[in-house]
Symmetry: C2
Subunit: 321 residues, 2 copies
């Protein structure tokens, strides 16, 4: 029984990594700058460097299940290659599993970062009580995962779970994907701050003091802080975003008959200012026959959920031989 | 090896049934009036009567795999009971499998009618080439099914596939489910004819001659016929509907990464007048990374797809023992 695995979260700015004990969770963290601008070889070096440190920290006599890695971009069906991750220049298709696995002689499993967060939530986070649930990750973009019977539902080609690109308004604003009214066009971090800035410019709100002239320094964090202080304008804005999230989640529930939802990622820190309106909308957009047991909860593990999910990939691969 | 099964399609107005040969398809049809107004016991009698006729037609020496039945309403996870089918008065929860199975001493399997149509398409219809696909059934309402790796994807509780209740406009018109902007609020037969009537009332169109004063007799069939005759107004209306269907399907593809779509049911008879605009919209609403292999085809088997799918339920149950 291998009780340890390394989980890696590859992001546009940093490579986060952890040595994970199957029951006790993260036992050691490390981090490197991604340096995506220097190309794939450099990024692989950063990943390898982080992995090397953690492998060196494996307690004597303990076996390693392997390395799991969550990544942006398109992942191949066999979970080895990463294609065209956004904001990684010169990166076409790279066999990350082979490159890293070859260095350390351990199995490496790659999966989409949003799916990895879902898996982490299922085994270590807010998703633990649920056999099946939808995970929405609100970050730079809006990621999603379908956890079905405690496993990642991968669809026909491995790309399932793109909640952020479901439309809630076929004539709505365009997201980066070119999809009109995609939920990311409301809740993606750049879109949300853009909407908020113009919506609140003429309103009385503490955000004017907090974020400088013309709300130029507005962030989701500032919105949340203003809401906590009782600022009505900030609360309205978060409710506006939550409502849209709930509508998209309602569509997903109707399609999948999976009635549990976990929401994580940066903006989810706004908590019930965002999530209560999302819950209300979810209930309105789910058809009556599928309402029983409907539930939306917040993931509170933060970034750690991605590391734990990545390690879980390695444990599963080890178990399956 | 049991080469025959009985497939039954329970509808609001008629009970359709067929004796199905595993390879050759339907070998004998029959039909009864449902008489839903007379209550569940009467409906069960009608089903039994149809089944009895077909069981009597089983060639000597041949074994029956069982009976499969597609039904509106909510189906239990164990595929035995039907709860609250719309337009069936006095019907709460009825164990159809037990009632019919007990009469004939054969296993009976019940499944949602849209899922059954998907299964029929997968094994006998336009879905045959696809391992996984989405099925949209355009009838009184808009039904849907997810066929994943040649099986019905049932979700966590058995109710998955409700494409018709996905929203494409969170502030749009209400469908019967109370969901705003649900695709059924545009393509459901009553909604579509209502939209069409008002949209075309002031237009020059052959529909005025075809459907009487104020377009009171407008039907999807009339729309289709007018479109075939070259009527621009009718073609516009079908394109309007197809565009909305494509947007909803795009959301479903993004969520599931299942890139094949089969469209069946009454209104789908309008063929490419409806489906070409649906294809164009589908492509616009699917994110770039999931576009490869995207395909939307028409189911041409008509009602038979439901009977074949119902029989297939019985074959699968028999194989699984």
């Amino acid at each position: 029984m291998a009780r340890y695995a390394v989980g890696i979260d590859l992001g546009g700015t940093s490579v986060k990594a952890a040595l994970v004990h199957r029951e006790h969770g993260v036992v050691r963290h490390t981090q490197r700058r991604t340096g995506a601008a220097h190309g794939p070889a450099h990024v692989l070096d950063q990943i390898a460097d982080a992995a090397r440190e953690l492998l060196g920290a494996l307690p004597p006599g303990e076996a390693l299940a392997g390395i799991g890695l969550g990544s942006p971009g398109v992942i191949s069906w066999d979970r080895t290659t990463v294609s065209r991750p956004p904001n990684f220049p010169k990166w076409e298709t790279v066999n990350v599993a082979q490159a890293i696995g070859g260095m350390f002689g351990v199995p490496v499993t790659v999966e989409n970062d949003a799916n990895v967060a879902g898996l982490g939530s299922a085994f270590y986070g807010a998703g633990q009580p649920f056999d099946s649930f939808l995970m929405a990750t609100l970050g730079t973009g809006v990621g999603g995962a379908i956890i079905y019977q405690k496993r990642i539902f991968r669809g026909a080609h491995g790309g399932a779970g793109e909640l952020g690109h479901m439309t809630i308004d076929y004539e709505g604003p365009y997201a980066r994907s070119g999809v009109a009214g995609a939920i990311e066009a409301y809740l993606g971090i750049h879109f949300l701050t853009h909407h908020a800035r113009y919506r609140l410019l003429t309103r009385e709100t503490v955000l004017h003091e907090m974020t400088g002239q013309d709300l130029a320094g507005l962030t989701p964090k500032a919105l949340h802080e203003a809401a906590v202080q009782g600022d009505e304008a900030a609360r309205e804005m978060l409710a506006w975003a939550g409502h849209k999230l709930g509508a998209a989640l309602g569509s997903a529930v109707n399609l999948l008959d999976i009635r549990k939802v976990v929401v994580g990622g940066g903006i989810s820190a706004a908590g019930d200012f965002l999530l209560d309106p999302a819950r209300a909308a979810l209930r309105r957009f789910v058809m009556p026959g599928l309402q029983a047991g409907l539930e939306l909860v917040q993931e509170t593990l933060g970034n750690e959920v991605a590391l734990l999910g990545a390690a879980r990939l390695a444990f599963e691969r080890f178990e399956e031989g």
